[in-house]
């Protein structure tokens, strides 16, 4: 899977979960400050990412931005 494909799939999940416009999500989007995601929102997003990519993600304290999330997914896919 290319980097762009991973990002697009993650973006799709975030757009659906938070009812956003497509152009509101970029790699630099901060999940707490820009999207107003709380800890449970993050749990839900991680669950959906795990299901859609068929991977396991560890606890999310160091996922602050979309880039962080994409990097975690890429690391799991490469493992």
């Amino acid at each position: 899977m290319t980097d762009a494909e991973v990002f697009n799939k993650v973006k799709e999940i975030l757009v659906d979960q938070f009812d956003l416009e497509d152009d509101e999500v970029s790699l630099t989007t901060d999940l707490t400050n820009d999207i107003d995601a709380d800890s449970l929102d993050l749990f839900e997003v991680l669950n959906r990412v795990e299901d859609d990519f068929d991977i396991k993600l560890a606890v999310a304290e160091d996922i602050k931005t979309v880039q962080d999330l994409v990097d975690k997914v890429k690391a799991q896919l490469a493992a």
Partner: protein, 323 residues
């Protein structure tokens, strides 16, 4: 279908209310934080009563409502993770208070799945040798809460509720059930650990009465496995999710329920909630909700309903009823 009628339901809630604002004066939290993450505004706590007192009041109300005499009852089952004591069991204290001299009494421990597990046992008893029984979920969780731990203190409350059920010739009853346990992940939600030591050992385990939970894993478990259980139980009942009129889910967290409703493709209005008033009362949440909805006629004859508990163990239980 196992032809069983829910004859009556009743609840007993302690009078003292503890609001989020009151908790915010005791620990670093606030109403907006608690409510947005859990759906809880306030909870009730006992100030003089214990679990058996709440359960007894429920049982007394059930008899009054149903017009049965205490001696008409074959069994009393109390589901609780916060009994007065390990012995005598809570149900025995209820039996004594009622004067239900023909009834046998037992407790069942399955945390937040307790009421549904209790209904499974009770309906099995009715389908075999007995005619009529009482099933109660009763909790005083305030005695298991670390009131300095803001991650758990905001979640739990006290309360009790239950039903009187009996065998019937009416075309109503239990359509299907699915109970499952996940003991391999038991550590994600724990409470009430006894100290273990004797005259011949060192200290084997220390006393730890308080709740501890892994929030991420519990959320993960509930939002993934409860839809799986509902899918299985609906298949057993030969129904679709659309066929169920009201889903009565364990009232732990509004966000968990919203996630489950979404995964099932069901309108959230089919998932009534009252944790805003009571918090998580473990085995009591489902029967408290059931009693409130029956009183408001939101749940009534002619409907198909789902009762779903999930939590410590970890455990899940679901039943589909035709009322």
């Amino acid at each position: 279908m196992e032809q069983i009628k829910i004859v009556a339901s009743a609840r007993q809630i302690p009078q003292r209310t503890v609001t989020n604002d009151e908790l915010s004066a005791m620990m670093d939290t606030d109403d907006q934080w608690i409510y947005s993450r859990t759906g809880i505004h306030e909870r009730h706590v006992v100030t003089t009563e214990n679990t058996s007192d709440l359960a007894l009041k429920v049982a007394q109300k059930l008899l009054e409502q149903s017009n049965y005499d205490a001696n008409d009852i074959d069994f009393i089952l109390v589901s609780t993770m916060s009994p007065d004591a390990t012995s005598p069991n809570t149900a025995a204290l209820v039996q004594a208070g009622l004067g239900a001299n023909q009834a046998f009494a037992m407790d069942l421990s399955a945390a937040c799945s307790g009421f549904v597990y209790g209904m499974s046992v009770a309906t099995s008893l009715l389908s075999s040798r007995y005619r009529r029984g009482i099933v109660i979920g009763a909790e005083v969780l305030s005695k298991l809460v670390d009131w300095t731990d803001r991650t758990t203190a905001v979640l739990f409350g006290d309360g009790a509720a239950g039903v009187l059920i009996e065998k019937t010739d009416d075309a109503v009853g239990l359509l299907a059930e699915d109970l499952r346990s996940f003991g391999d992940v038991n550590g994600y939600l724990v409470a009430g650990r006894f100290a273990n030591a004797n005259a011949f050992s060192g200290e084997i385990t220390t006393l730890d009465p308080f709740f501890h939970q892994n929030g991420r894993e519990v959320y993960n478990f509930a939002t993934r496995e409860v839809p799986n259980t509902l899918t299985r139980v609906l298949a057993k009942a030969e129904l679709t999710a659309d066929d169920v009129d009201v889903y009565l889910l364990h009232q732990a967290n509004a966000r968990i329920i919203m996630s489950i409703a979404k995964r099932l493709g069901q309108n959230i209005e089919k998932f009534p909630m009252n944790m805003n008033k009571y918090g998580n009362t473990s085995a009591a949440t489902v029967p408290i909700l059931l009693d409130e909805l029956r009183a408001d006629n939101v749940v009534h004859e002619g409907q198909t309903i789902a009762l779903v508990g999930f939590g410590g163990g970890l455990t899940i239980g679901a039943q589909i009823w035709k009322l």
